[in-house]
């Protein structure tokens, strides 16, 4: 087996050194009846054979880059520069462990410090952690953090928050006595949707969670909801599932957010069928010690040279055990590296340009759909819009998929049985061409006939 260096002679010599005859003498603590069970699985294969088998499976999928592609709703197709993947495949990054031995992990630690700074800058907050599993788990952690900060238990989740994020918050808090108030989306009136969240805030509220851009793509000023939250001593948690939007839209920090969580996949990371992704988590300085997750901080070594270490670990499970702020024991290290490399290439200038191109493409899409007689529900948006069709969106999307166009996400898939079966969410990023838009609109028009 190509990954196993020991030879039969090595094994014999080592067993002799240990003083046993047979390898199973080392497994003597396993109940005899249960040792070496018959397992009906295939035997070892060559690299070429495995490659053939997995390539066959991959070929059964329609990749985003091979068709006109408008699917978003929490994961976005962006172009990732070739440099990013080369950097993250360097073995010193790829095959390193969590930087618990900082003298030989300054590479990881420095990019985490850079990453934390970039996330803080993008979200407009004081500090960010070293990342979490994904945007949805970061949202659940934020709700629990708000509870620790405010010592209140009622969380209001606005209709703009992604259905799956809501579900993760509900799952994660189901065995605590939190009171999670989930509101319905209102794709036709995003302003009313936000107002409903604002109206639901009372003195028992720990936090109000809003997403910007919302699940239907709309972009709103969160200033009023921040004021209302703060008036009731509640925190405003802002969810950003399309981090590219922060290159064009005013940051959550500027709008008064207390915690910003998000999905960082759009920068540096591919679609990967939903994972691994990159949870972002940022907040203000005064809440640092209530934050979940890993933090990297600056320090010096014994000779006074600047360096970095993991810090404030007294919040974490390996020190605090059952009293920890979270049970999380990892971050999305390599995904945060991809994010940092891509951001280092883009810089503010490139990010702003790219964000404008995204918005322009979505405006083009909106214009083309409107011109063809479709009803676009958004008045303000970043790179994603919602359209109300004259028939069920699920069937329409299936029809177009069979015809080589991936047309978007039927709202019915995210909110089954809640009256949105004719709503379709479409994203247009920089990867979409004029021709893609023309093909989409023509096939959509055909499909709704």
């Amino acid at each position: 087996m190509r990954y196993l260096p020991l030879t039969s002679d090595d094994r014999q010599a080592m067993l002799a050194k240990i003083g046993v005859r047979h390898i199973d003498d080392l497994f003597k603590d396993v109940p005899k009846a249960d040792l070496n069970p018959e397992i009906n699985l295939p035997k070892r294969q060559s690299e070429m054979a495995v490659e053939r088998q997995l390539s066959t499976l991959a070929a059964k999928n329609t990749s985003a880059g091979s068709v006109p592609f408008f699917v978003g709703a929490g994961a976005y197709k962006h172009h990732v520069p070739a440099t990013v993947d080369h950097m993250i495949q360097r073995g010193e990054f790829l095959t390193a462990y969590t930087p618990y031995q900082p003298e030989i992990a300054q590479g990881t630690l420095q990019y985490l410090f850079e990453f934390q700074t970039l996330v803080a800058q993008l979200t407009g907050m004081d500090v960010a952690n070293a990342s979490m599993y994904d945007g949805s788990t970061a949202t659940a952690e934020a709700v629990m953090m708000a509870r620790r900060v405010t010592r209140k238990k009622r969380a209001v989740i606005a209709g703009s928050v992604h259905a799956h994020y809501r579900a993760v918050v509900e799952t994660t808090t189901q065995f605590t006595d939190d009171n999670i108030v989930c509101q319905a989306p209102n794709p036709a009136d995003a302003g009313a949707e936000l107002q409903a969240a604002l109206d639901a805030i009372d003195d028992t509220t720990s936090c109000v969670v809003v997403q910007n851009p919302g699940i239907n793509g709309s972009v709103l000023d969160l200033g009023p909801v921040a004021e209302a939250a703060h008036a009731h001593k509640a925190l405003l948690i802002v969810v950003v599932t399309e981090v590219m939007s922060l290159g064009l839209i005013k940051s959550p920090g500027e709008m008064g957010a207390d915690i910003v969580v998000g999905e960082g996949q759009s920068i540096g990371n591919g679609l990967n069928f939903g994972g691994p992704y990159l949870g972002l988590f940022a907040t203000n300085q005064k809440y640092v010690r209530q934050m979940p997750g890993r933090l990297c901080g600056k320090t010096v070594d014994a000779e006074g040279e600047q360096g970095f270490v993991l810090t404030l670990s007294t919040r974490e499970q390996h020190i605090r055990r059952e009293k920890a702020t979270s049970n999380i024991c990892t971050n999305s290290g390599l995904c945060s590296l991809a994010f940092t490399v891509h951001m280092s290439l883009l810089g503010e200038k490139g990010l702003r340009q790219l964000a404008r191109v995204n918005h322009k493409r979505a405006c083009d899409l909106r214009d083309a759909l409107t011109a063809a007689g479709f009803e676009v529900l958004n008045s303000s948006f970043f790179n994603e819009i919602t359209v109300r069709l004259s028939k069920g969106a699920t069937d329409v999307v299936e029809t177009l998929a069979a015809d080589g166009v991936l047309a978007g996400v039927p709202m019915e898939r995210l909110y089954p049985g809640q009256g949105f079966d004719d709503h379709l969410i479409l994203a247009a990023t920089e990867t979409v061409t004029d021709e893609d838009i023309a093909v989409l609109v023509s096939k959509l028009t055909e499909a709704v006939q």
Binding site: M1, Y3, L4, A13, M14, V30, D34, I39, N40, Q45, L54, T56, A58, T62, A75, P81, H86, M87, L94, T95, Y97, Q101, P102, Q106, T108, A120, L122, A128, D134, S136, T137, H162, T171, D221, L246, K250, S251, F273, G275, P276, G297, T299, A302, T311, H318, N327, T330, G333, C335, L337, L345, G347, Q353, L354, S379, F382, A401, L406, R413, E430
Partner: protein, 524 residues
């Protein structure tokens, strides 16, 4: 000194810096701040500018925007670098890291095994890497088939009837498992309050139990490093929801009484959660399903060779017994009429514990893990477990005369030592670990598990050849002999040969600096 005809020296000056016989001891700093291959590298914020970009992005041109009055006008502050500078920046940073690709990485309970590059190549096939989680399922049948295949391998290797793939990491898997236990208990109207964890448990176990609203009670270990069965039975009453046990445990030992434990747990109406962090020792050799386990997570980034990546992304699928499988999280893959589908919302029985992550879990890791499994086959997997256990016992046998082994052998995949052999030497486990860095190794896990003093937990994995093992053992013996002989100089300031000396963690925590801030203008 020998020279060629142009007067160029052709051989280095005799002697060395380290033994003081060379006259070339550096008594100066370079003008550049670099030290040969050790290149000084500032932060991107000190290198780049907000006006620079290393990406050629099309101009959007003038158009009417639809973002209301919410345009971001204030400076963001993110610097850009031209592509060559960005490549250098991250290449230079990478060279300050130690990885499995560089050498032995015997970090106990972390299973730092070789990360095959075939896995990386497969995960990057556009048919896996460039598909969206919300595409119509008709367009991702190959991805769902891969998830099915991986599930089949996992269930077969563990002897369990069901698996939930979606948890994002080991601790997330624990959460999933304990939530399923709580859901099952609530479904039968059985409110229980307590989860029992051994003292040697990893910190995530009690943290997870607390997260699910349980009180945590500790159960003691016996002198042989195993769970004290009598104490466990004593603690098992009708308030106990679950027992969380790592097997093989964090002392590197197989729980010999595991079946008595599972029988006792089930008799008390509780569930047996097994932390599968150490499954590498028994894969293909024994199945948790045969040992009475109700739920167990696997770490694909440990056992099945997906990269640790400097701290994630991990992947923590959870296997379930028949008693728990109806409570598994959403989504899962179903099959009808030859087509696979994703069950994303409440299931037929309505018992699922719910959704734990935005999408379907770590697909990129599923591909890598399956690539590893297919490559090894069931025969190679069993061989890998045997080699891992053999290497660990070889370490134990080769060091136990000079270092203090905490328990007798045989061990499983890792060998546990404590600091008794360092008593009165003034050398601590931390010093010893840092001296290993000077030897060119990543240190073993230190001060964990908590059940022995100054723990040193060594897990070589099956990746190491006998040659590597012998080199490593020679270093370890050398260090141990030196420490015991009272020659402590090489420990006190270690590491000496690493790019950084010991870092001040206290200062970092006292006044946390968690982000870059530009220098104050008057300091420029």
């Amino acid at each position: 000194m020998s020279m060629n005809t142009q007067g160029r020296p052709t051989a280095p000056v005799a002697g060395s810096v380290a033994d003081g016989t060379s006259e070339m001891t550096p008594v100066f700093e370079s003008f550049s701040g670099h030290r040969g291959l050790r290149l000084f590298e500032p932060l991107i914020f000190e290198l780049g500018s907000t006006e620079t970009t290393g990406v050629d992005v099309d101009e959007a041109g003038d158009f009417e925007m639809s973002i209301g009055d919410l345009e971001r006008t204030a400076e963001i502050g993110c610097p850009g670098l031209p592509e060559p500078d960005a490549v250098r920046h991250f290449t230079r940073l990478s060279r300050r890291n130690y990885g499995i690709d560089m050498g032995v990485f015997p970090l106990g309970s972390c299973t730092m095994k070789h990360n095959p590059r075939l896995n990386e190549k497969m995960a990057r096939l556009p048919g896996f890497a460039d598909i969206h989680p919300l595409q119509p399922t008709s367009s991702v049948q190959g991805a769902l088939e891969l998830m099915d295949q991986l599930s089949h391998w996992i269930c077969s290797l563990t002897g369990m009837p069901a698996v939930a793939l979606s948890p994002k990491a080991g601790a997330h898997g624990e959460l999933c498992g304990v939530m399923a236990i709580r859901a099952a208990l609530e479904a039968r109207g059985d409110a229980r309050e307590v989860v029992l964890c051994p003292e040697s448990a990893h910190g995530t176990n009690p943290a997870t139990a607390a997260f699910c609203g349980y009180k945590v009670k500790s159960i003691p270990a016996k002198g042989n490093g195993r769970v004290d069965l009598d104490a466990l039975i004593e603690a098992l009453d009708d308030t106990v929801a679950a027992v969380m046990i790592t097997n093989p445990n964090t002392c590197g030992l197989f729980e010999t009484e595991v079946k008595d434990i599972s029988d006792a747990v089930h008799k008390a109406g509780a569930f047996f959660y097994c932390d599968g962090a150490n499954f590498n020792a028994i894969m293909g050799k024994a199945r948790p399903g045969d040992l009475g386990v109700d739920a167990m997570h696997l770490n694909l980034h440990k056992t099945f060779s997906t990269p640790h990546g400097g701290g994630g992304p991990g992947s923590g699928p959870v296997v379930f017994s028949d008693a728990l499988k109806d409570f598994a999280p959403l989504p899962y893959v179903t099959m009808s009429e030859g087509e696979r589908a994703l069950h994303e919302w409440s299931d037929e029985k309505g018992q699922s514990l719910g959704r734990l992550t935005a999408f379907h879990g770590q697909m990129g890791m599923y591909v890598r893990a399956l690539s590893y499994m297919l490559s090894h086959g069931v025969d190679g997997i069993r061989q890998a477990a045997e080699d891992a256990v053999l290497n660990a016992n070889y370490v134990l046998a080769s060091l136990q005369d000079i270092m203090s082994a905490s328990y007798g052998g045989p061990c499983m995949h890792e060998a546990l030592f404590d600091d008794a052999f360092l008593k009165d030497t003034g050398v601590t486990t931390l010093d010893f670990a840092k001296a290993m860095i000077d030897e060119g190794y990543h240190p073993m896990t230190m001060y964990f598990p908590l059940v022995v003093h100054g723990a040193m937990l060594i897990e070589p994995t099956e990746t190491e050849s006998k040659y590597n093992m012998d080199q490593f053992i020679r270093s370890m013996r050398g260090l141990a002999e030196t420490a015991v002989a009272g020659e402590t100089a090489r420990f006190e300031g270690a590491p000496y040969f690493a790019p950084w000396k010991r870092l001040d963690e206290t200062q970092a925590a006292r006044q946390p600096v968690l982000r870059y801030s530009p220098p104050e203008p008057d300091q420029k």
